[in-house]
């Protein structure tokens, strides 16, 4: 919440939002191009995707036009690149480790890496903290709830 400030709706944000939506619609249309669409009465699997993607492209362009003309101000936030990258890395490492290595290593690494997103923590505190959280996670998911997850590899 602290990262927000009241600024103008900056130009690049005005230019990117609508076209990004239109691009999503266009990609959807391209993928669903080969799905048979049928008729209103006998809809094929492609009917709704074509309809929705077409509307999205139209709306995307409409939003671009209205954004370029708007004079409203808008609460915008500073991009948190460090957090974005490290949280992503934490999830990716969890995903890579969970099946080959098991729950405990995956939990430990995910916690440690996501902890790095905040500059405050030193290496030792990260290790201690991660170990503690991993232990708590093990107690919760394996001991208390008995979820069918492998603890250490298979």
């Amino acid at each position: 919440m602290q990262n927000t400030e009241r600024t103008d709706f900056s130009l690049w944000r005005r230019i990117v939002g609508g076209p990004a939506l239109a691009a999503f619609g266009a990609a959807m249309l391209a993928i669903s191009w080969s799905y048979p669409s049928g008729s209103v009465v006998q809809m094929g699997p492609g009917y709704m995707p074509h309809l929705v993607s077409g509307t999205l492209i139209f709306f995307g362009l409409a939003i671009l036009v209205s954004d370029l003309r708007t004079t409203e101000t808008f609460e915008s936030e500073q991009p948190q690149w460090r957090a974005l990258i490290l949280i992503s890395a934490a999830v990716i490492i969890f995903v890579t480790l969970i099946e080959p290595a098991g729950l405990v290593p995956a939990m430990f690494c995910a916690v440690a890496i996501s902890k790095l997103a905040n500059k405050q923590s030193g290496p030792l505190s990260i290790v201690i903290y991660s170990a503690a959280v991993t232990l708590a996670g093990w107690l919760l998911f394996i001991v208390a709830l008995g979820l069918p997850l492998s603890v250490f590899g298979r």
């Binding site: 957090a83 996501s114 903290y129 997850l149």
Partner: protein
């Protein structure tokens, strides 16, 4: 009716049955708080235990987990913007801002009260009107579901604070995401990039990503501890008289909506919560307050999802038809105990039927009693500095989503939606309508196409069937009302602008 209910109470109040009810709601509460770990996981893990219990205790235990999880779901939503269950997504919208402004304890208390009243209303409907409700539910065929969902999409298209066109675009994105998987009417795969997507994107991934993960990214780097005062005195906790008064109608409306949607086998608690929220927004005189911790927007959906959790037992108990996977498991537990659920249950097994219903009553009281003292404990969670808290939340999300169906793809998707939810705010796109579209879109397509197949493409079914026609009428009336009120309010603002500028311009 009172006599049978007393019979039910006498069953529940036996100490061992009471113990199962208590254990069930407690476990449900815990499961509900944990994001991704759903009632279904807990119930299927406990299914073998029920082999050795009598059928009444089995169902009381399993049912307690289910409605207990509805209670718990709100807690993580309010404290961490992390929907514990899909039906508590809407609770994030108003509950989290309230907690951010230091009123987490108040939000939790209000939620507990709304949930309790919603549940009790649901129980009342089950006691008094189970059979007529079941008969009504059977009148809902494909055309009715089509129109109901269409009405919902119209009513809810203004669910975000931004412009309607942006909100509607986001609902379309949700509908698009809902199409991933095999097409229900032909079986053809759509947008299936890997086999793991063949069953579609899971609602858990989408909700957890858009709300939970994006909020973590937003706040993880904050160096200073969050300045949230923890107000725990009675004065801060208890709603004022005015606040209480403003809760009454939303809770009542939410409970009615929830009771209705819960009783329909095709819809459930999540849809009920969305609808209740959308309705409050539509009829509110202060729509600008929504999204900032507005009380009606918090109590209505909570009351609705809890009412729905109770009435969703109506088709299960009276018709023997499970509305969702949880109910299917409960029916499975009955069948394994040699009891055939269905219309004869109430006659053949009155002890079980009324015992289970009375257990809802008792279970909800237990939930209220264990929840109120816990509020203080939950709120203290917020006194932990966020930089110590968020890695544990990342962990809860990863493990919770993974355990949902042992799929790494689901976890990756949660991250993707988290990034999406983070980035889309830069461009003034709101995440809530995406979820709404995701939930309602597939239902709309499936039921519309089924209607066309069943009635060989005859559009008049929508207006010749009475319930469907009523829904069409409501939809049209809503559109007209919206349009007219928009014009009126624009005129008013123009007038007031003129009024203001008048003296100065002279």
């Amino acid at each position: 009716m009172a006599e049978q209910f007393l019979l039910g109470l006498s069953v529940v109040l036996q100490p061992h049955v009471l113990m199962y009810a208590f254990f069930g709601v407690l476990l449900g509460q815990v499961i509900g708080v944990l994001p991704g770990v759903g009632a279904i996981t807990a119930i299927s893990l406990l299914l073998p235990v029920t082999f050795y219990l009598d059928p009444t205790s089995s169902v009381i235990l399993l049912a307690g987990i289910y409605y207990g999880s509805q209670y718990g779901g709100a807690i993580a939503s309010i404290l961490l913007n992390l929907p514990g269950t899909p039906s508590s997504v809407v609770t994030c919208l108003e509950g989290y801002p309230l907690a951010q402004s230091g009123r987490a304890g108040f939000a939790l208390l209000v939620t507990a009260i709304s949930s309790f009243i919603g549940s009790m209303f649901g129980v009342l409907i089950v006691v008094l009107a189970a059979i007529p409700m079941a008969a009504l539910a059977l009148k809902f065929g494909a055309p009715e579901y089509t129109m109901l969902v269409a009405l919902g999409l119209v009513a809810a298209s203004l669910i975000s604070s931004g412009s309607p066109i942006r909100a509607f675009s986001m609902a379309l994105v949700g509908i698009a995401l809902g199409m991933v998987g095999s097409d229900a009417n032909t079986g053809q795969y759509r947008f299936v990039a890997t086999d793991a997507l063949a069953d579609g994107i899971s609602l858990v991934s989408l909700a957890m990503g858009l709300f939970g993960v994006s909020e973590i990214i937003r706040n993880a780097s904050n160096v200073e501890t969050r300045k949230i005062d923890i107000k725990l005195s009675y004065k801060d906790l208890l709603p004022t008289r005015a606040e209480l008064r403003s809760m009454v109608s939303p809770v009542g409306r939410g409970a009615s909506i929830g009771a209705f949607f819960g009783a329909l086998p095709g819809t459930g608690a999540a849809i009920a919560a969305f609808m209740a929220y959308a309705l409050e927004r539509r009829i509110s005189r202060t729509p600008k307050e929504f999204g900032k911790g507005h009380l009606p927007g918090l109590c209505a959906p909570e009351s609705a999802n809890n009412a729905a959790a109770q009435t969703s037992f109506i088709p299960t108990l009276t018709l023997g038809i499970p509305g969702d996977a949880v109910m299917a498991l409960i029916i499975g537990a009955l069948i394994l105990n040699g009891i055939i659920p269905g219309p004869r249950l109430i006659v053949d097994e009155p002890q079980l039927f009324w015992g289970v219903i009375a257990s809802f009553f008792v279970g909800n009281i237990i939930l209220l009693i264990i929840n109120i003292p816990l509020i203080g404990l939950w709120v203290r969670l917020l006194s932990i500095p966020y930089h110590r808290l968020y890695p544990a939340i990342v962990l809860l999300i990863c493990v919770g989503v993974y355990s949902h169906r042992s799929s790494v793809t689901d976890v990756v998707l949660t991250l993707v939606f988290g990034l999406l939810g983070y980035v889309m705010k830069w461009f003034r796109f709101e995440p809530a309508p995406v979820l709404l579209g995701f939930v309602l879109g597939p239902m709309l397509e499936e039921n519309f196409r089924r209607t066309m197949l069943l009635y060989s493409g005859d559009f008049t079914v929508f207006v010749t069937r009475p319930i469907s026609a009523t829904l069409v009428f409501c939809g049209v009336a809503l559109l007209v009302f919206t349009f007219v009120s928009a014009i009126v309010s624009r005129r008013k603002t123009l007038k007031s602008l003129k009024g203001h500028s008048g003296p100065f311009s002279v």
